[in-house]
Each structure stands twice: as structure tokens, then as C-alpha cells.
Amino acid sequence: MDIRIKEFKKIVTSPIIIGLLVLFIVYNSIFIFQNSYFREELRVLTRLVDRFGYEIDDEMLEKYRLYYEEQLVSLNKITKEKTSKNYNSMAEFFADYKYGLEDIYDREELGLIMELGIMEAYYNTIEEIDEVYSSLDIMERAESEINKFQLIDKAAETVRNQYKAFSERFQQLVNNKEHKNLFFLGKVYRLHSILFKSLFKIIIFEIIILVVLITAYIVNYEFDNKTEAITYTTKRGRDLILDKLYVSIFSSLVVTTIILLVTLALYFIIFDYSGLWKVPISSYFNTDHNFPYLSWWKMSFVQFLFFTIGLVYSITLLFNGIIFIIARAIKNTYFAFFVFAIIFGLFLILPRLAPNSSNTIFIGAFTPYFLILNPHVWFMEGGAFATFKYHEIVTLVIWALMIWVLSILSIKRFKRQDI
């Protein structure tokens, strides 16, 4: 225990590691603030959900419509007074005002205008759901993905099969009415992209940088400081490498927790998700671009968030293992970074060299290196290479096993190696 605490102290007292951790947290905070200009608008939905709930059905829709019309009447009262005009919808209203709203209406009235405008946008989106989903063709999506990557033969067939399986899930999703739930309007706010595509990807890269630094630093600490002859001939001896492995894992988890906790806490303070945590992640509103995010399983937003966090922790451990093995084999920290970077690059480039007709092209998708590129579609339909139902789990299990075996071999080798 004493030894491990002392190893941990080496990390905690490393200015680079602590400095980077602080820098990353500052960076994430800036990123969140930069994207927060619309945070007030989000409250409109929070209030609507407060009033009607998020589940969309006929009864809810009727209430929603009545409320909307009621509000429109109040607005018309004001407009009549100020401009002697009457509007049937906010679209009509906004068409009249390219500029100059502020000159005519006071703050309170502007608030009502904004609220009504947003209400109408949500209402319109509700109205289009059925039409969109009846024309949404999963197999068409498959073909467009196949074309995008110019897959042929077996490779194309695999993609079709995956999407066929996904079609069933899609039917189930529609039957469950998972898509008919209010959520922040993706096409306007792109919150799924901000959180899961941008922020989580940033977080993951930050974590990997720190994990690589910590692990290489601690594993090679003695060699870098030329104390290996002293330390590895003590009673603890080469078993010290085990302490180092445990401490590096512990430190990686600590660092991951700190970054996630601080960043996500700030994110959810800035963007208020209250009332929406349990909305299915496959809600039609959660469509940032042309195609909705469709999960393989029925999951609420908060479940998706926790699965994503869980996967981040798992990936942290995988990278911890990978860099442990590399740093152990290469006794120089900087050279170890270099090798890690090269391996990283190779894993991103090599799969592209596989023939586009064979299934080998998919091997490259089952790596942690590939996983971290697309955190926004984990557990979801994710294009040609990531629409395997158990994509994440299979990748995790295979790599965890490989890394586990290699780590054991690496430790065994170290115990029999000349130092």
C-alpha cells in the first residue's frame, strides 16, 4: 500500500500532468460557454414539457394546440393595438418583420414572441413526424452508405444485412412511439452533436493524452531517472511493475472521473435538461441533420448518457493497457509516445487499404481507435462501418482480452529480462 501511494504521488506531483488536466478543463468550459448563446431558448421547451409532458399523443397534441392558439390570441391583441394587424401563425408574423421587432415591442412582448415562435416550430415538427417516418427507408440508407464508401460484393452484402437487422429494430422503435417524444430541436440547437460528437470526442482525446502520459511516465519513471538498478533490486523488485500497473489504472480512472464530472456538470448547469432526462434518445426531435439518431435499444437520454460514460471508462482502460504494453517494451518515455502515435495512425489508415469488396474492411471498425471517432453514434445506427448491433461490446471484449493477455506476457517477460 505504501509503495502504491508513493507511486501515485509521483503522478500527482508531475507538473505536466496536473497542468494539462487543468488546461483541458478550462478548454472544455470555454467550449461549453461558446455554444451556450441559445440556452435561454431551451427553457421554452422545459416549460412546455412541464405543462404537457414529453410524450406526444392526440390528447397532448390537442392541449398543446389549444394553448398555442390561446397564446396567439394574446399576441394578436398586442399586434392589433400596435400595428393593427392580425396573424394566423408565427411564420406569418415573422414574414412581416425582417428587422425592427425591438423598435415596436417591449421586452415582455418580445419574450412572448420568441416563446410563441419556438412553440410553433415544435408544433410544426410534431405535425411532420408521421410523414417523415413513413417515408424513412432504412434500406435506402444502407444503399447510400454503400455508395458513399463504394462497397461491393461481400462488403456491400454485410452492410445490407446489418441494415436489414436494423430495419426490424426501426419498426419496433416506431411501434414503441420512441420517436414521438418532445426533445430539444436538433435541427436548430444540434445539442446531440455538441454533447456527444464534439464534447465527448474532446473529452476522450484529453483522457487518452493524460492516460498515455501517466502510464508511460509511471512505467518508465525508474528508467528515465536511472534508478532502475536500485529499485528493481529491492525486496519488491520487479513486482514493482504490478504496482505501477495498478496505480496507472487507478490514476486513469481518477483523471477520467475528474474530466467527466467537471465538464458534464458544467454542461448540464448551462443546458438545463430537467424534465427531459427520460426522453428516448431516438426521439425525432433529436435529429441534428437529415437523419434521426436511432438507437439499437430503447434508451432514454440519461441511459444513453450513462452507457456512453461507461464506454468512455472502458476505452480509458483499453488505452491504459495499450500504452502499458508499449511503454514496458520501450524503456524510453518519449519514444513510447512516438510509437503509440504511430500505432494510432496505422489503425486509422490501414483499414482504408482493405479491399472494398471483402469483409476484412470491417476489421478496422472493431478497434478502440475507430470507436473514439464516433461517440455520437455509439449504440446507434452509425453508417456503413458501425451499424453492427453489438459493435461496441464486441470491440471492447476482443480488445480487453487481447490487452489482458499481452499485459500478462509483458509482465512475465519483464520478470525474466535483463535490466
Binding site: 536500485i230 529491492t234 525486496k235
Partner: protein, 291 residues
């Protein structure tokens, strides 16, 4: 009892030691050989850092690599070159190593104070080691080797970087410490071990050449070491005929100590050989520059 049997070691294709057999029992052993002879290589095998390619090393009959931490627990080692943590004080550094050596915390505290006193660093014990001189760092090294009160103390060139005063101090310290231990120290500086080593081990051409008491080793040159005074003008001619051990200016003449099989001149004075003579003679074909 530490026994090296039939041990060979090579680095890749470079063979450094071949079929080494040595027995160590309690006492001080001086490993005396020129640079590159394989002293450090032998020592690293004795300290489990290197694995022999052939042969084995036994402590009380058990292979030291099988003994594992049981062996390392009774081992104290000062490497020839070692680093330290710049921002640690001597006390912190020793504390860290005490933990690795499995010393109980309170015991370690007492022991560290004793040792700091012993190596004369008590007054600077809490200063960062990056402010230490080379000799001070070396003394920290000696202290850490003795932390666990080892039964086998192995010191690789322990006096390197120590000034003459410190060398004397160290020698006395060692004589005191070595009572019920195996102490092995390597050096290529003869005077370091002349007075304290019970036995000298010389390695030549990858093999053990001598392992004997100083007296016995010196006897091998008995009747072959002479001193005489010659003119400077003759010096070169003389050196071509006889192996010169040392030369000294004496007035306008040169006093030369040299090796000869027979006494060929009455002016030659037969002197008793010392270990340095043996060292110089044994390694005469190797380029040595003594420090």
C-alpha cells in the same frame, strides 16, 4: 555462502564472462580489473538485474533467481551509475527505497536517521538532492544500500567521486560494517581495497585469473620486482627491455620500479611486490590509465 558456478554472460554476440566459478563467504572481496573487464556485468548478475546465459548463482544452496524477494531482502546494492529523484531530499529518497525494501515505517525512520549520521549527511538530509555534490549523492547511495541491513553488500565502484578524505572514511566504515556479511566491491583503483579486502578477485580474458588473499597474489611476483636508479637518457632503452611499474624523479636520476625474471645487475634492489605491481603486470597488454 554465495556461490557462482560456471556462469557465462554475453551481450548479444559479445561474450563478456565465461565459466566463472567463485565462492563468497563472509568477508570483504575486492573485484579488481580494468575498465570493460566485466566487473559490473558480474555484479549485475549477483544482484539479479542480469540473467546468466549459462550456469547458476546459489545462495546457501538455492538459486538466487528462485529465491526471488527472499534473496533481494538480504541484498544491498550500490550501482556504478545511478540516478536519483531531483526533487527528493535524501531523507525522502531513502524513505521511498525503504518502502520498496519492505521496511516497516517507524523502523525505517530510525534506520534512516542512523545511516544519514553514519555517512555524514544528517545536516543536509532535508535538502533537495539536486543541490548535492557528486560525493554527497554517492554517500546517499551507500546509505540506501545498507538500509535493510543486508547480509550481502555489493558496491560497484563505491569510491568513485569521493575525495581522498571521504575515501578513508569510507574504508573505515566498510571495515566496521563487514563483520558478518559478504561484501563485494569492484574497483580499478588498487589503493581502495589494498587495506580492507580479505580476498582479491581478478578477471582477465573473461575468466577469473586470481581469487586469493593479497599476500598470495603478490607472491606470484616474488623475486621479480626490482628498483634501481638510471639516467634519464637510458630510460627509453630500459623500458624496452623491462616492464616498468613506476617511475619517479630522484635528483638528476630516475628511480624505476620494474619486472625482471632474474637479477642481472648488482645495482638492482629486490623489493617485495605489492598488489598494484601485480595489477599492472597482469594487465600489461591492456591499455590502462589509472585514475
Amino acid at each position: 555462502m554465495l556461490i557462482v558456478t560456471n556462469v557465462s554472460k554475453s551481450y548479444g554476440k559479445l561474450s563478456v564472462l565465461e565459466n566463472i566459478d567463485i565462492e563468497f563467504s563472509n568477508g570483504v572481496y575486492g573485484l579488481l580489473a580494468p575498465n570493460g573487464a566485466g566487473k559490473t556485468t558480474l555484479i549485475k548478475m549477483l544482484t539479479t538485474l542480469l540473467f546468466p546465459n549459462e550456469g547458476e548463482i546459489l545462495y546457501n544452496g538455492t538459486n538466487i533467481f528462485h529465491m526471488g524477494d527472499g534473496y533481494r531482502d538480504i541484498l544491498g546494492y550500490l550501482p556504478q551509475e545511478f540516478g536519483y529523484y531531483k526533487n527528493y531530499s535524501a531523507r525522502q529518497f531513502l524513505n521511498y527505497l525503504a518502502a520498496l525494501k519492505g521496511l516497516e515505517r517507524n523502523l525505517a525512520k530510525v534506520r534512516i536517521n542512523e545511516l544519514l549520521e553514519l555517512v555524514g549527511l544528517a545536516n543536509v538530509a532535508d535538502k533537495k538532492m539536486k543541490k548535492y555534490s557528486g560525493g554527497m549523492v554517492q554517500r546517499v547511495g551507500i546509505a540506501q544500500a545498507m538500509l535493510n541491513d543486508p547480509k550481502i553488500l555489493i558496491l560497484d565502484e563505491p569510491t568513485a567521486g569521493l575525495d581522498p578524505k571521504e575515501r578513508v572514511r569510507f574504508r573505515n566504515l566498510l571495515a566496521e560494517l563487514s563483520r558478518d556479511k559478504i561484501v563485494i566491491l569492484s574497483t580499478h583503483i588498487v589503493s581502495d581495497i589494498e587495506s580492507i579486502a580479505n580476498e582479491i578477485i581478478m578477471i582477465k580474458d573473461k575468466k577469473v585469473l586470481y581469487k586469493d588473499s593479497i599476500n598470495s597474489i603478490c607472491k606470484t611476483l616474488e623475486g621479480m620486482v626490482y628498483e634501481t636508479s638510471i639516467d634519464y637518457a637510458q630510460a627509453n632503452r630500459f623500458r624496452n627491455h623491462y616492464f616498468s611499474l613506476s617511475e619517479k624523479q630522484e635528483g638528476d636520476k630516475m628511480k624505476i620500479r620494474f619486472i625482471s625474471e632474474n637479477k642481472l645487475d648488482d645495482s638492482w634492489e629486490s623489493v617485495s611486490p605489492n598488489i598494484e605491481d601485480v595489477f599492472l603486470y597482469v594487465y600489461k597488454d591492456e591499455v590502462i590509465k589509472e585514475g
